[in-house]
Amino acid sequence: MMKNCEYQQIDLEALSTPAPTPSPQPVTDNGKEEEKTAKKQRRKWEVFQGKNRFCCDGRIIMARQSGVLPLTLGLILLTSVLFFIFDCPFLVQHLTVCIPVIGGALFVFVVITLVQTSFSDPGILPRATPDEAADVEKQIDDAGNTTYRPPPRTREVLINQQAVKLKYCFTCKMFRPPRTSHCSLCDNCVERFDHHCPWVGNCVGKRNYRFFYTFIVSLSFLTAFIFGCVTTHLALRAQDGKGLVFALQESPGRYPFSQRLSSNSLNQHFIIIYIYILVICFFSVWSILGLSGFHTYLVASNLTTNEDIKGSWTGKSGAEAATNPYSHRNIFVNCCSVLCGPMPPSLIDRRGFLSAEEEAAAAAAPQATSREVELPVLASKKDINVGSKCVSEESPARPASRPRAPPTPPPADRRRGGGGERAGHNSAVNSDPARDRRPAGRGALRHTPAAAAAGDAHTHTHHNAKAQHKRTHRGARSALDGPGGTRAASPGVGRSSKDRRNAGSPPPLP
């Protein structure tokens, strides 16, 4: 091979066009390989190792457990539609036509941002390639001492004069960048990990935080608006008659829909609908407004829910008082950088085509030797999302005694706004690397209840965060004003599902 100095003339057209016909492998017969690759040209999402679900040929990404997203969507749609049908006609006649216009705009905003939050890549970091992983392992071993103790799997960096520990992720085989956390439900490392939200059925991270924030703010406006309108409607009706009950029961002969609805039984339905809307909106306003307020505080101080709960920068965790090195120390700049910053691209390139060696690596993945050490006993599942095996080592082994909350009770829980009794589950937000080294056998057996319990714990952590916000608000605010670094750019959230990378770049070399 070394003597072969004859270069083949490069076919520039073959280079510039993307797959489905990538450059042939030198190993096997060229024609046969081309035929093979042309037949089973796959996209990267098909071999994605996290626990995610993909739709529309990789354009849409969700967590595997969609959580209560259908419930969220259903509640929003139902309440809004009932509002438009039963309240708007009256209010348009009595007040102004702006009411359904404003309501409609808010409703559209809410649904669009919810869909974007749920279906976009939160900032997933692709796992390290085998070569990278080996290189990191070598560095760790070189740095380790000669005793029998395994070398520490942390790295310390100085960020804006603040010492930050980077932890090694056993699943993704890399040192996690700062503010990155591994979500055990999705089995991915997510950049600027905020939390895993079961209500939207996805993680909230660097790329979709702004969608999430816009969603909860517009939802609080929408629920407050609907609540106000329905209250106004009933008040106006009550003025015409002898009180509210009479107003509800009177036959609304002047209004549309009413000529047919004059019997008492249908008026009973009206009462139920108004009560439903009022109750939903009343509880939603309190909980969602609280959540919006909490996240507004986080945005203004450039914190994530994860950091706030763990008290990384307030000294709650026992470490000496630390300041947030990512904050720009200016509320306005913090808000702008988090919400209006540049949109980072999706790093997982889910619609890109696999190159030949990536196909080979994916085919070899179920038998990867590096995983055998940590997962000695596990039936391999024929699953597109290969990472299902790996979740066992990451999911915290919670006692299975905590029952999984079925979809219907959460609204009740949520209305209570999370309680102090859930404070014990703060660590549920991401997996603790100390747990990574547990024997996987135990984790494997507990896979389903652990994941369910983790999901439950995540839910409670999410809502506990709101309750905690009031307690930690003052304590954490001092961290914002304290001395610290100057600026640390926090790239905003973004989304890109285009075949950009696929379009012009030739496949990487073996």
Partner: protein, 143 residues
């Protein structure tokens, strides 16, 4: 012919001797920056200043992509007003700079690294974690 040989071609002819990974530099926070420290494995292959120049230019390009300034704020505010639907139709500033970076790396590979038996992999292919430098077996040394 020597100028036009590509690295895909090189890959077919030469074997990979080693891979060097340039890690991220987090001293300025979560901005995408790479360490400019010159790895020892490349000492025999390429000039230190040349290599550092490449990494520095890449760092500048990434800083430009993530810059918080008037343009990014304008883009962000416009996007917010349209419920972020503009991202479906428009190419963001970041993506434009990524294209620039891809072109720059291609250019560097063709002009500087390929003749020395090296190949830079675009960091975006590695999740912006590392710059992967592939060392091919050096034919000139008869190895």
């Amino acid at each position: 012919m020597a100028e036009t040989h590509s690295l895909q071609d090189l890959g077919q002819q030469a074997a990979v001797a080693a891979k060097v990974f340039i890690q991220r530099d987090y001293t300025n926070g979560t901005v995408c920056q790479f360490q400019t420290k010159f790895p020892s494995e490349l000492e025999t292959r390429i000039d230190k200043t040349q290599f550092e120049e490449t990494v520095r230019t890449l760092n500048n390009l990434y800083a430009e992509a993530e810059k918080l300034g008037g343009q990014s704020y304008l883009e962000g505010c416009l996007a917010c007003l349209t419920a972020y639907t503009v991202f479906l139709c428009m190419e963001t500033h970041y993506e434009k700079v990524l294209k620039k970076i891809a072109k720059y790396i291609q250019e560097q590979n063709d002009k500087i690294y390929a003749p020395r038996g090296l190949l830079l992999t675009d960091p975006i292919e590695r999740g912006l974690r590392v710059i992967e430098v592939t060392l091919f077996e050096d034919r000139s040394l008869g190895r």
